[in-house]
């Protein structure tokens, strides 16, 4: 379309403006068309960006959905503190369901309680969806994170078992989203699908968002295992022969404490993180998520089982 120029003053619409407007549009479609949606909120940086977008989409009203966190009980305490503070500051409803509940119910059977728990999150998520009857769950996943995500729709349809069928996705054209589901089925919606790690950091800087302190450089006791720095915690103690070092690190992602590795860093401000992100030669998950490296297809397999 080529159109008449009105001699209007040139309005600069940056890539962040474009991404933000797209994400607001997606959230409003969910709020308007889904009967009982929820926003998955972990206290991590991507979900903190999602909260700001929700504010932009719905204020001055309250969010037309609750915030939901599926807690593995393996989270960093700083992240949980931020989660609770942000939900309280916004005056929005936060629902927390724990893997421990599923373990107590016997729906999750874990041999080693200290092993990574991400694979089990799907069970508690599906139980929570059933408990509240959610027909749509919005999540902060991005397509640049991983190969399987790169092919997932913004509105990703799940069957009654919460499963994703990558070969049978609904075509998604323009920005007209098909939100129709049968009873018992639901959709996962990813409003920030098109954002990259860099976009997230630039947005955090622009919006001056409060994020957990462990995203900034800090001194931490770690153990070197392979290429990764594993944080020492109540769940991870050095094995015989391993050396504990104190290193200046920051986290690029925050997840299960047993498998989320920080990177060496001296970035104490968002601007310094942006500078580091611009020159890093390793992908976000490649540097920090040991659970995704077990096989080339681990994320795809988890998503097929109902992971978001």
């Amino acid at each position: 379309m080529k159109l008449v120029d009105h001699n209007m003053t040139k309005h600069i619409f940056t890539h962040l403006d474009a991404l933000e407007s797209e994400s607001i549009h997606i959230m409003r479609e969910v709020a308007a068309e889904c009967k009982n949606p929820a926003l998955l909120f972990s206290g991590g940086k991507d979900s903190i960006v999602m909260l700001r977008i929700a504010e932009k989409a719905f204020r001055p009203a309250k969010f037309p959905f609750p915030l939901v966190h599926i807690d593995t009980e393996h989270n960093f305490p700083e992240v949980i503190a931020t989660r609770d503070k942000l939900a309280a500051d916004l005056g929005e409803r936060l629902i927390v369901r724990s893997l421990e509940d599923s373990i107590a119910r016997g729906t999750i059977v874990i041999k080693d309680l200290d092993k990574p728990r991400n694979p089990y999150q799907s069970v508690t998520l599906l139980e929570t969806i059933t408990e509240f009857g959610f027909d749509a769950c919005m999540g902060g996943a991005r397509r640049d994170e991983e190969k399987a995500r790169a092919k997932e729709r913004i509105f990703s349809f799940r069957d009654e078992f919460g499963q994703w069928d990558p070969k049978n996705q609904r075509p998604e054209l323009w920005d007209i989203y098909n939100t129709r589901v049968h009873a018992g089925e639901n959709i996962r919606v990813f409003p920030i699908s098109n954002w990259t790690e860099m976009d997230i950091w630039e947005y955090i800087a622009r919006e001056k968002l409060h994020i957990p302190c462990i995203y900034y450089a800090h001194k931490r006791e770690v153990i070197r295992r392979g290429n990764a720095l594993i944080p020492v915690s109540c769940l991870v103690q050095p094995k015989a022969g391993e050396i504990v070092e104190t290193v200046s690190v920051r986290f690029r992602t925050v997840g299960d404490m047993t498998c989320t590795a920080p990177v060496e860093s001296t970035a104490h401000t968002v601007e310094e993180i942006i500078a580091e992100t611009a020159t890093t030669r390793i992908t976000e998950r490649g540097a920090t998520r040991m659970d995704d490296q077990t096989s080339d297809a681990s994320m795809e397999l988890r998503k097929k089982e109902g992971y978001f």
Binding site: M8, T14, I24, A150, P166, P171, W174, T283
Partner: protein, 455 residues
């Protein structure tokens, strides 16, 4: 990177044989967008498969099912950035179901890179890709004449291909076509200028992607604001607040503007433009905002705000004289000719409110179109029941010939007539993509079965 960078979405059309995956790999590699762990992963895989060199095309295939079968199934999105722009590549496989995948990826693209093998020239698939790009109205086209190293970097060969392509493209609705001779394998004219083709003085592919003007790709003249969500805060301080949240799909709006709400036709004035970051005096497409009005009018999701006054451009009873498909209506964009006087008018125009209209349809489902069944049509923020009253013809995407048909199968492109249960507020797709496009949903399965462009 500064915050003032723009976002450009583009697709690449062509088969593996044309060097498409290599071209994407080269763009990512030469713009330093491949990370070490990604590179070592594909190096390992290349080695496992017994390949001598690292296969860059492995970067663009994703799912386990595909890796097992060695094919790409669906549209995948890739992201990279240069200091000038951020890019989203919609990467589509060049196999069967090509039409469906390409139409999907093209629907959000600013630009399409159409690949040609310099040895083979303009082929049937080049015509198919170009037709689909013009059908979806992709604003900018780059004809990438690849494998120039295989034709001795011949200027004459390049010009032959360009000449042939331009003769063909003249039949289509393609306005902005750029032709670049390149070699993806060696990187000539992809990111770096080619020493072997000093006769070519134009931009490299990346330079073009960084500079092609996209501000005018949206309709800046005709204000269109479909209401997405009505904002009614349940708080005392906002007792009387009634805001209409949505995205400005086209044009602009200012406080004090007279607006008409369609389909009801009632009018009011814009009182405030509310955003989280404060009230605005004026807002533009594609901003997401919340509008309030001076008067209390019953408005709900699916209604559309337009500027009051203006003329109706889109006279659209089914069976009207527009008996051509989108691709052949080239030229009249942006300026509209007032049909009664023949004068060029730059006044803003109004959409039509219609329950019957015609469209070009791309059928996406394995289950054929059934004229006896009802479907849902989702158009802007309104969903209505619909049925197909006519299939005028199917377009052969290879020859552009029209054939009468009784049914539509997956990947068919056809001109059809629809009837909807409720009125829709529509524009011609050529004038406004957002108010001229729709999807068709199967009532029984809830699947998205077709994409439509009002014509």
């Amino acid at each position: 990177m500064s915050n003032a960078t723009q976002l450009l979405r583009f697709i690449t059309a062509g088969s593996v044989d044309d060097g498409k995956s290599t071209l994407i790999g080269r763009l990512l590699h030469d713009s330093k967008s491949i990370f070490e762990d990604q590179f070592s992963a594909i190096s390992r895989t290349s080695e496992k498969r017994g390949m001598a060199a690292v296969d860059l095309s492995l970067l663009t295939d994703g799912l386990q099912a595909e890796r097992e079968q060695g094919i790409t199934i669906d549209v995948a999105y890739r992201y990279f950035a240069t200091p000038k722009r951020k890019f989203i590549i919609g990467d589509t496989p060049g196999h069967e179901q090509y039409t469906r995948n390409m139409v999907t990826a093209a629907s959000t693209a600013n630009l399409a890179v159409i690949l040609i093998d310099a040895r083979k020239g303009v082929l049937t698939q080049t015509r198919r890709h170009s037709y689909l790009a013009s059908l979806i109205g992709v604003p900018h086209i780059v004809l990438a004449v690849n494998k120039m190293d295989m034709v001795e970097y011949s200027k004459q060969r390049f010009e032959e291909i360009v000449g042939e392509y331009k003769r063909f493209a003249a039949q289509l609705n393609l306005h902005d076509v750029h032709c670049i001779p390149l070699s993806a394998l060696d990187g000539d004219n992809v990111v770096e200028k080619s020493d072997a083709m000093d006769w070519y003085i134009g931009p490299t592919l990346l330079e073009l992607l960084e500079t092609v003007e996209i501000e005018h790709d949206v309709n800046t003249r005709d204000f269109r604001f479909p209401v997405q969500w009505v904002c009614r805060p349940q708080a005392q301080e906002y007792h009387d607040f009634r805001g209409f949240a949505g995205r400005i799909e086209a044009g602009d709006v200012s406080v004090g503007d007279e607006v008409t709400i369609l389909p009801s036709g009632r009018s009011s004035k814009i009182k405030e433009i509310v955003t989280y970051d404060g009230h605005l005096q004026r807002a533009y497409a594609p901003q997401s905002v919340t509008l309030t009005l001076e008067d209390e009018i019953d408005i709900s999701r699916g209604d559309m705000f337009v500027k009051a006054g203006g003329t109706t451009r889109c006279a659209q009873p089914a069976g009207s004289a527009i008996a051509c498909d989108l691709a052949s209506v080239a030229g009249s964009l942006g300026r509209m000719v007032n049909s009664s006087t023949g004068n060029v008018s730059e006044a803003h125009s109004l959409p039509a409110v219609a329950k019957e209209f015609e469209a070009m349809l791309c059928w996406l489902s394995e289950t054929p179109l059934d004229k006896n069944r009802k479907y849902f049509v989702k158009h802007t923020t309104r969903t209505a029941k619909c049925l197909f009253s006519r299939i005028d013809y199917r377009v052969d995407v290879n020859t552009l010939e029209r054939h009468p048909v009784a049914a539509l199968n997956m990947n068919d492109i056809a001109r059809v007539a629809l009837k909807t249960q409720q009125p829709l507020v529509i524009d011609h797709y050529l004038d406004d993509h957002s108010t001229g496009s729709f999807i068709v949903i199967d009532e029984a399965t809830n699947n998205t079965v077709a994409a439509g462009m009002i014509a």
